[in-house]
Symmetry: C2
Subunit: 177 residues, 2 copies
DNA sequence: CACCGAATGATACTTTGTGTCAATAATGCG
DNA sequence: CGCATTATTGACACAAAGTATCATTCGGTG
């Protein structure tokens, strides 16, 4: 039920688990899925792959849609391209501590994220503790369970240090379930 | 870290775990928290307590803001009141399978929900499988973990029956992490 | 009852995202 | 290469969801 593998309980200590795919690799994937390779898509893709941490669609729109050298890219195109990239597993959709959706470059199978509410960094992990719960829930409720949503929020070591240095308590922010 | 108790691993088989508080009880709670008891707040509260399943803020706005007998209630007031009710634990905020936030009347401590993508029913449960994961994540990443978000999506028995009867596959809907 | 500040709600605005559709450009084919 | 076909684009309008402002109103206290 959990699309993330329960086998791998180890966590990657670095914000980006594996090197992101190259633009060319992704383009090949797109073609394989019947999509065309266009200029705007290349531009969106390049921008996306350059992002080390989660970003919102609007951030991308602002970045690509304004007076950049060359042709600005339309809002709709950015949204559509993000959707496509998510559908071919180049991007993961996730929900931030503020409840707003964002995207992050992620390797397939890495479905859950630990998010820093300070700097926005994301650590993806495959360990999924929900499967056992799903069995219990299925037994007790007779629901047909199709999926779940899990995000973990915290503050990364760097931001903890910064907070200490700045005299700002690290306990700010998130109060989620 | 998980505000839901890990002690109670049993699930309540009924959509509403415990009888919702009475309006008067809630009003007392509001006063205790330094809020005033006003007409609009009573109206919002009554509407909220009458809801057996999750609802969105906009639904309430539509319900209370239009040409109902008596004074229609402003959009801002509805949002503000929901915020207050959530802050005093009368309501839980949750995120539906479509990613949109909604509220549900919930008893404190019941922080996670199993949502039916057919009829919208919610089963709240306190079993939280994330605590162990949090320990692992804390050890491996040195994050200071402050919270998490967990929702489980599926189809309730009734909707499964309906789907079978209607010839509609039960496998529609949610494809979440 | 009068006062004070919290609360209200009309309005405008922001953010985030979707729908439409004529113009355009990417691929396949000859 | 040149053309036809069709996906794609992007400007625009629109919608949904929520926030900010602020003069007015109302609840509760003395």
């Amino acid at each position: 039920m959990c699309y993330a593998s329960i086998m791998d309980t180890r966590l990657d200590p670095t914000p980006i688990a594996t090197p992101p795919p190259t633009a060319d690799e992704v383009l090949i994937t797109l073609v394989r899925h019947g999509h065309r390779v266009t200029g705007p898509r290349r531009a969106v893709l390049d921008a996306v792959l350059a992002k080390p941490r989660p970003f919102t669609a609007e951030q991308l729109v602002a970045e690509l849609g304004d007076s950049r050298a060359g042709a600005p890219i339309g809002r709709a195109t950015v949204y559509r391209t993000l959707e496509i990239l998510a559908s071919v597993d180049v991007l993961s959709r996730l929900i931030g501590a503020d409840g707003h959706p964002s995207y992050v470059v992620g390797t397939p199978g890495h479905r859950h994220h630990l998010l820093c509410s300070g700097c926005g960094a994301a650590v993806s992990f495959t360990a999924c503790p929900v499967d056992e719960l799903v069995q219990t829930l299925t037994r007790d409720t007779d629901f047909a369970i199709h999926g779940h949503l899990l995000e973990v929020f915290g503050v990364c070591p760097t931001c903890q240090d910064d907070a200490t240095t700045d005299g700002i308590g690290a306990g700010r922010g998130v109060a989620v379930g």
